[in-house]
């Protein structure tokens, strides 16, 4: 398979679209947790209950979902391990749904901007995604799907507690709104160390989206709400948006300060990283992510002009183990993956030159 063809097949439309503030905010995401009345939660339900839920939702999706969504219904039992892994790497399904769920399934839109997980921790997890900072629009999109589903199935809802969920951390609105942000300026100037605790104090969560624990590889962070009671969905999203706007402003001024005080050092860093990506024969995830982050910063600041911006979003996803194995067409050992990763990145950058 040619790389161009592979990229076409593998990437989702949101990876190379632009949205508001997309030089810093890669994507906005909204997830709603919902459960059906009269069924036990996935922690306890029987296989029969699980299958009934799957077929009920499948029926609604087939008959009532809008045609332009081109919804695809995938059952976990019918997918190969590698196919599931690739869906996990694209954040379309969770590792939990891929590995542990009984009778789990997912509904995907053809653009891959909508995914509805069935029988994960909750019966339904409606997720919508948009490029750039568009949390309100994304909430609206998720809300419409939620309304559509609710017109055909009975949700577990309580007057005082709201939408009832399997875990008490989600009860109420069941919403998790988040934005994926690229913050190399704040990391380089070490301001991130003060900003993260401040964000936590506001009841929001910050975590590195790639890499283990709090370490953020590729300087990509995910900022999301934590509490789901006591505030409406709109207020949760407004509060999150206003915090993210402040972070964007901070990141912009950090980038400006860096250009003013250490222009040549920054340019050097950007071009060294580009050199590594263009020339290396073996590269680990972490190094690749760091170099991709530097190159993306270089594009944003105008040092590099002939490479497209979305290379960071795209290659962060496509250089993960599942995708590398899909591209190779076979299982790869970790060492082989590092070689494949280097090859894929080199070829991808060469495609930019021929454009």
């Amino acid at each position: 398979m040619s790389l161009e063809h592979f990229l076409h097949e593998a990437s989702s439309s949101w990876m190379n679209q632009e949205g508001p503030d997309s030089e810093i905010v890669l994507t906005s995401r909204v997830r709603l947790a919902r459960n059906l009345k009269n069924y036990r939660f996935p922690s306890l339900f029987s296989s029969e209950e699980a299958r009934e839920i799957v077929s009920t939702i499948q029926h609604v999706a087939l008959n009532h979902f809008p045609d332009d969504m081109h919804a695809e219904f995938l059952k976990m039992d019918e997918l190969k391990l590698l196919e599931k892994r690739v869906l996990v790497e694209k954040h379309l399904i969770s590792p939990q749904l891929a590995e542990e769920s009984n009778d789990g399934a997912v509904i995907l839109s053809s653009d891959e901007d909508i995914s509805i997980m069935i029988n994960e921790e909750d019966h339904l997890r409606i997720q919508c995604l948009s490029p750039g900072l568009q949390l309100h629009e994304t909430l609206e999109k998720a809300g419409k799907l939620d309304d559509l589903l609710e017109s055909w199935v009975d949700y577990a809802f309580d007057e005082t507690l709201g939408y009832l969920t399997s875990c008490p951390t989600n009860v109420g609105t069941g919403i998790r709104a988040s934005a994926m942000v690229h913050l190399p300026g704040l990391v380089l100037t070490q301001q991130i160390n003060q900003i993260i605790p401040a964000i936590h104090q506001l009841g929001l969560v910050v975590r590195g989206i790639y890499g283990e624990g709090s370490e953020a590889i590729g300087n990509i962070f995910q900022i999301s709400n934590q509490m789901t009671l006591g505030k409406s969905e709109e207020n949760i999203v407004s509060d999150l948006t206003s915090v993210i706007k402040q972070i964007i402003a901070q990141e912009r001024s950090a980038r400006e300060a860096l250009m003013q005080t250490s222009n040549i050092q920054l340019e050097d860093r950007v071009y060294r990283s580009l050199g590594v990506l263009q020339n290396s024969r073996i590269i680990e995830t972490k190094e690749a992510a760091q170099c991709l982050s530097d190159v993306r910063l270089g594009i944003d600041l105008g040092y590099i002009q002939n490479i497209s911006k979305h290379i960071l979003n795209e290659l962060m996803i496509l250089t993960q183990p599942g995708f590398l194995q899909l591209y190779a067409g076979r299982a790869l050992r970790p060492y082989e993956r590092d070689i494949r990763r280097a090859t894929l990145i080199r070829e991808r950058l060469r495609l930019e030159e021929t454009k």
Partner: protein, 169 residues
Amino acid sequence: MHFTKIVNGTKTEIHLCEKCAQEKGEMFSFDWGKSFSFDNLLSGLFNFDPAIQIFKQEAAPNPDVLRCNHCGMTFNQFLNTSRFGCPHCYEAFQHQLVPILRRLHGGNIAHEGKIPARIGGAIYTKKKLAQLKEALQAAVEREEFEKAAELRDQIRALESSSLGKGGEQ
């Protein structure tokens, strides 16, 4: 690489070479962390809550006495897994849940968001009525009689329409 896992005082040690650790970890590295830390932390949080400890002491002779009649889950089971068994568990454990919800949601214990249109119709009307009545009270206090009259009409309209619906059902 050396891992030490301590669960309820039982210590398990795992020794792996870096390569195996990478193999093992990379296979599904993401979930290791999650199921290991998040759930444990959460149930730790519940178990150390003073209100929950008092409950546990009082219930000590028969710790599984509090149980959801619909799915059979006991409150102790919930404390250990931090997952409910069914929607009715919220009702069954409602008193014990208050401190837990406060802790998780910054002191909040009530839903202020969306109400599902179809099944929530009656609840929606009720909440809207309560809001309107509050606004009416405030308007009267501020002596804004024109606004108060407007609100009173809205309340009447809403009340008569919801009564009508009730009759049909």
